[in-house]
């Protein structure tokens, strides 16, 4: 439950920031894609720190 919440939370937050960057620069989906990857990686890192060793 906590793990899923961190993973989805990370992708939603950073994907949303990436979407804002897309709107600002006029690119289509590049910022959002990078944001989703960063958010997913950060979510994995949070799960590892909170639940892992």
């Amino acid at each position: 439950m906590v793990a899923i919440s961190y993973l989805i939370g990370g992708m939603v937050v950073w994907g949303g920031i990436g979407w804002l960057v897309d709107q600002w620069l006029g690119t289509e989906g590049i910022g959002m894609g990078i944001g989703a990857v960063i958010g997913g990686a950060a979510g994995v890192y949070l799960v590892v720190r909170r639940l892992g060793a």
Partner: protein
């Protein structure tokens, strides 16, 4: 001449294909945890953190599949 035509987003099919790998992976992670707990119940506390790490690393692939399906839906 069109023999067959598919209408709609191919991203749905793509996500179906992309979910196969994480599906198998998550299954393997939990199967391994259950098996190790069954073999050695007192090790459950020790192996649990590694289960969550493995789960998070695998599950993020499936979630990225959903996100990319929406971002670059064609």
């Amino acid at each position: 001449m069109n023999i067959a035509e598919v209408v709609g987003s191919t991203a749905a099919i793509g996500y179906g294909l992309a979910a196969i790998g994480p599906g198998i992976g998550v299954g393997l992670v939990f199967a391994a945890y259950i098996q190790s707990t069954a073999r050695q119940p007192e090790a459950a506390r020790i192996t649990q953190p590694f289960m969550w790490i493995g789960f998070a690393v695998v599950e993020v692939l499936a979630l990225l599949g959903i996100a990319f399906g929406f971002i670059w839906a064609g």
